[in-house]
């Protein structure tokens, strides 16, 4: 085989392989990067991290919403399903709970429109896991890793008393291991 033909074949193969790896790998790498950054900032797996009003230089998430008083959890369901529960904040301009798969696809979105009551109970599980307690909704992840985001929009960032009250409200939502059905 001629050297030029070898070069052309190597070029085409490497171009296609690199492109495919970046294309299909980048979403999970982006999730892993954000989780890694969150863990470095003191976060942990499977526990809620209650945010503060966003400020410049405090987030690695591009195009983040500065009006969100957010709550986040980095999920690893390999140890079993989880339950997010508690009293939903009532003073947000908008509230929603969303769960994202490792590849960033949205698995579940439930807002205060779909969950109008004060009490909240949402299961986080994989397809092969079952939860043995009543919940309002279930986020079924295609793999154990994922991310939970709870968005509470502030009506204003400049009213310190309002923001402090909202910060107390978002802490009324907690997370714990779910009761699972006996095998």
């Amino acid at each position: 085989m001629r050297a030029s033909l070898i070069g052309v074949i190597a070029f085409a193969a490497a171009a296609a392989a690199t492109h495919a790896v970046l294309l299909f790998g980048s979403p999970t790498w982006a999730t892993d990067y954000q989780i890694d950054q969150g863990l470095k900032r003191g976060g942990g797996w499977n526990r809620l991290i209650y945010g503060k009003p966003p400020r410049a230089g405090t987030t690695t998430v591009g195009l983040a919403n500065p009006d969100t008083l957010g709550t986040r959890a980095y999920l690893d369901l390999s140890g079993g399903p989880l339950i997010v529960e508690g009293v939903r904040p009532q003073s947000c301009a908008y509230w929603s709970l969303s769960v994202f798969a490792h590849d960033t696809d949205t698995v579940l979105v439930r807002s205060d429109r779909e969950l109008p009551g004060a009490r909240l109970a949402v299961a986080l599980r994989t397809e092969d896991q079952a939860v043995a307690e009543p919940v309002q909704a279930s986020a079924v992840l295609p793999s154990p890793k994922g991310v939970l985001l709870i968005r509470c929009f502030m009506k204003t960032r400049t009213d310190a008393a309002y923001v402090a009250g909202l910060a107390r409200e978002i802490r009324a939502v907690t997370m714990r291991p779910a009761r699972v059905a006996a095998p």
Partner: protein
């Protein structure tokens, strides 16, 4: 043809191919990629956050706006240029003029290179709950090099790629399917 020449050709081809593959990836997912729809000075991508989105859209969202919500919940409109098509310039003053939007909640945020712009007031956005809106429902935000005040956002002293992001949370029924009907604000250069 020597064996060494063939190996060199293979290695050179592979290296060039890897660079070309990465370049093509950047070209097809990077910040200058054409979005799927233009509305006035704004662009919007209707496939954010969905399982059905294609791999390019998924990669683009993951890299530049991870954990965006699907259009049934949120519509995102981005403007990097003014109404005349000129790139937003930190040395200029702009008026962002809008009115009622068909949604439960809206907000407009100014970013530099995708991140908040530091300023003494920690003011990065204005929303429907804190923007001063006229009795006729119209509102105007001012983008300026510096300064503080109601309805004002600042570019700051650093160069970069400036983006305005308009978020519509829980758009009215039918709006997500017809994003071209959203009365997006105009971005007008006032002075430079």
């Amino acid at each position: 043809m020597s064996r060494r020449a063939k190996i060199l050709a293979g290695v050179a081809g592979a290296l060039a191919g890897a660079a070309a593959g990465a370049g093509a990836f950047w070209a097809l997912t990077g910040p200058f990629t054409n979005p799927d729809q233009r509305v006035g000075a704004w662009t919007t991508n209707g496939a954010v956050g969905q399982e059905l989105q294609g791999p390019y859209s998924r990669a683009r969202v993951a890299l530049y706006g991870i954990w965006g919500l699907p259009p049934t919940e949120t519509l995102y409109f981005v403007a990097t240029k003014d109404a005349a098509g000129a790139v937003l310039d930190r040395r200029c003053v702009y008026a962002v003029e809008g009115g009622a939007l068909p949604t439960r909640w809206w907000g407009v945020t100014l970013y530099r290179d995708g991140f908040y712009i530091a300023n003494p007031a920690d003011r990065y956005s204005w929303t429907m709950t804190d923007t001063r809106i006229g009795p006729d429902g119209r509102w105007t935000l001012t983008l300026a090099p510096s300064g503080e005040g109601q309805n004002r956002l600042t570019f700051g002293p650093q160069d970069g790629r400036f983006q305005l992001l308009l978020r519509l949370y829980q758009p009215n029924p039918g709006v997500a399917e017809h994003r071209e009907t959203v009365p997006v604000p105009t971005v007008r250069k006032v002075a430079c």
